[in-house]
Symmetry: C2
Subunit: 360 residues, 2 copies
C-alpha cells in the first residue's frame, strides 16, 4: 500500500477558525477515502474542538503552533516579520520539510501567498506564482460535466507580462487536467476582442507566444461575454483584471440571491412560484454557492497550496483538503514544471513527454 | 419660442438600418415633445421607408448621403479614407457645420468614434474622448430612481493614464447630471481594492488627483462587487477593462435569459412559476433589455454624440435621439469643458462657477 497523502491544514485560518477546520478534518477522517490531515495551530483549542466530533485518530495529527493566527485584517507582511510561529508559517514549514505534502488554509489570502512564497521554491521556468479560482458557467466542462471553469490570476499578481500570461496558461491547463480530468483543457486569453491583434501589448505578445505549436490547447482570445458562458476551460488574465472579474461574479450572485430572497419574503404566491422554479433557479443559485467548491490553488510553486475561501464551512474545508490531495496524487507540480519547459522551448510537442495536458 | 434642437441621425447605421431608424424618427415626430431629426443616408431608401409610417414632416428632414452605409464588418478606417460621403461622415459634417446640434448612430462603434473624432474638436483639457454606457444595478440612482449606473470608458481607449481617468470622471459626472438629473453623482475608480493604494500605478495616481478638493463627488475606489450592486453612480476605468466588464454583464444577462427560456419551454408548471415570479424576474430581465435604453455617449468632444446599440429597435433609436437632445439642452459639452478646467486647476470650487456637478 502506498504512503497516504498528508495535508498540513492551517487550523486557525478562516472566518470560523478551528470550529470549521477541525470539523472538516474530523469528517474526512471517517470517510471511505480519507486523507491524513495535520491540524496546525493552538493545540489546546484544536483538542477541545476535536473532542466535540467523531473522528478517526489514525488520520489526524495535531501540530502545535505557538504564534497564534493571522487575523483577516492583519497586514500580510506579519508572516514575514514578527510572527515566525503563526499557524500558516508552521504549516508551510511542515510541507517544506517533507512532513506534509500540501498546504491548505482558509486564512487571509495575502498572508497565505506570502507565507507560501517565502517558504517554497518557484518551479523552474515560473516567473510568478498565480492564484486560480473556479467560477460557475453555463457550459459544462470536463468528463464529469462540471458547471465550472478556471480563471487565473485572480490576485497573486497585479500586472502581468506576456511571459507571465504564458506561464499562467500552462499552470491553469495543468490544474484543470489534474483536478477536473479534462484531457486537453481549452485555454484562452481574456481580451477586448477575439482577434489576435486585440488587447494590451502584453496580451498581443502572449497571443503570439501561445500560438506556437505546443501541448497547450490554445483557443486564442475570449471576451467578457465568454466568462459566464464558459466558452473555454481556462481563462488567463492579469491579477488585477481577474480580481475585478471574480468579485463582479460574486456581486452578480449576491444580487440574484437578494432578488430571490426578496421575492420569497414578500409574497406567498411568489413562494409557490419559487418552489416551482426551483430547478431553474438552482442553476442560478450555484453562483451563490460556488465558493464552497474546493478552494483556489496557488500555482507555480514546488508544493501544492490550496487557499480555501475565508467563509468556508466544514464541508468546504473538507473539499479543499481533498483537492489538495488530488493535486499531489496527480503530480500537479511536476506537470507544471514539464509544461513550462516545453512551452518556453517553443518546440513542437513530443506526445510521450508528459507535458500538460497529457493525453489521458 | 426657442429654436428646436436638431439631431443628425445616421439613417443607414445599425443591424436593421433604415427600417428602424426611420420608424424611430417618425414616431418621435408625432409625440408631444418632438425633436427635429435629419435622416442622413440614401434618399430613395429613406423616402420609401418614410412612406410606410405616419409622421409629422415639420420635424423630419431627409439629407442624402451618396456614399452608402458602413457595414458592421467594414474596417472602421474606411470612414477616414475612401468613403468621405458615407452616411456617418455626412451626418457628422452637418453637426460640425451647425446644421444639426447632435449626432446619433446605431452603426459600427469603431467607425462612429473615428468619424466623430476626425470631424469634431476635443474640448479644452480633454486628452481623450471616452465612450460611456449605462448598465443595470440593484441600487437605484438619481431623482427618478433609475436602476442604472454609468461606466466609462468602455471602448474608445485601450489603456488610460491617470490624467485620462480624471477626465473620464469629470465627463461621466457631467453626463449623469445632465441625463439622470443626479445632483452630485458619486464617482469612483474601479480597482482591486477600496484602499487608496490599491490598483495599477495609473489608478493610484488618479486616486490622488481626484482626492483633491473639487466639485466632483469622488467616492474613492470600488471593486468588482460594486458593479452589479450599483454602489456609485459613475464607475471610471480604462477602455480595456470597461469592455471586459460590459461584455461580461451582457453575457450574464444572456445566461439568465437562457435559463429562464429553458425553464419556460420545458415544463408547463414552470410557466406558471414564471408568471408568478414575474415581478422578481422583471428586475433580472431589465438586464437583458438594458441595451435599449438611450445608447452610449461619446464624451469629450465639442459636439454631442450618442452611439445607439447596433441591435436597436425603433424605440431604442427614438430614445437615443431624445437623450441626444437632452444632452444638448443641458449643455453637456459646456459642463464638461468647465469641469475639466476646474479639476485640472485643482483649485477649491466656487459653487457659483457651474462646474459639474452643478448644484441643481
Amino acid at each position: 500500500m502506498k504512503q497516504p497523502i498528508r495535508v498540513a491544514l492551517d487550523a486557525m485560518g478562516g472566518d470560523h477558525g478551528v470550529a470549521v477546520t477541525v470539523e472538516g478534518a474530523a469528517r474526512l477522517s471517517t470517510e471511505d477515502r480519507p486523507v491524513r490531515v495535520l491540524l496546525v495551530g493552538d493545540e489546546a483549542q484544536i483538542s477541545a474542538e476535536l473532542a466535540k466530533h467523531r473522528y478517526d485518530p489514525a488520520w489526524i495529527q495535531v501540530v502545535h503552533a505557538s504564534g497564534g493566527a493571522i487575523a483577516m485584517d492583519d497586514k500580510p507582511q506579519v508572516v514575514l516579520e514578527g510572527r515566525p510561529d503563526c499557524s500558516i508559517n508552521v504549516a508551510a514549514r511542515l510541507v517544506r520539510d517533507g512532513e506534509a505534502d500540501a498546504l491548505v488554509s482558509a486564512g487571509q489570502t495575502g498572508a497565505t501567498i506570502l507565507a507560501a512564497g517565502k517558504t517554497f521554491q518557484r518551479l523552474p521556468g515560473v516567473r510568478r506564482a498565480a492564484l486560480a479560482s473556479v467560477y460557475p458557467t453555463e457550459n459544462r466542462h470536463g468528463p464529469r460535466g462540471d458547471p465550472f471553469a478556471l480563471i487565473l490570476d485572480v490576485g497573486a499578481t497585479l500586472t502581468a507580462t506576456a511571459e507571465d500570461l504564458v506561464g499562467f496558461a500552462v499552470m491553469g491547463s495543468a490544474y484543470a487536467n489534474v483536478i477536473s480530468g479534462t484531457v486537453s483543457p481549452k485555454v484562452a486569453l481574456l481580451s477586448n476582442g477575439t482577434e489576435a491583434n486585440k488587447g494590451t501589448p502584453e496580451i498581443i505578445e502572449a497571443h503570439a507566444l501561445l500560438s506556437r505549436p505546443s501541448a497547450l490547447n490554445f483557443h486564442g482570445n475570449v471576451e467578457g461575454l465568454d466568462i459566464p458562458r464558459g466558452t473555454v476551460d481556462v481563462i488567463v488574465c492579469s491579477g488585477f483584471l481577474g480580481n475585478v472579474v471574480l468579485k463582479m461574479l460574486e456581486g452578480v450572485s449576491e444580487v440574484v440571491s437578494d432578488i430571490a430572497k426578496d421575492a420569497y419574503a414578500r409574497k406567498f404566491l411568489w413562494k409557490l412560484g419559487l418552489t416551482m422554479l426551483s430547478q431553474g433557479l438552482r442553476q442560478l443559485k450555484t453562483m451563490t454557492d460556488w465558493k464552497q467548491y474546493g478552494g483556489a490553488p496557488l500555482l507555480g510553486l514546488d508544493k501544492v497550496v490550496i487557499k480555501a475561501h475565508g467563509r468556508s464551512n466544514a464541508r468546504a474545508i473538507r473539499n479543499a483538503v481533498k483537492v489538495a490531495a488530488k493535486a499531489v496524487e496527480g503530480d500537479l507540480s511536476g506537470r507544471i514544471a514539464r509544461g513550462m519547459l516545453e512551452v518556453r522551448g517553443g518546440a513542437p510537442i513530443d506526445p510521450a513527454s508528459g507535458g500538460p495536458p497529457p493525453a489521458g
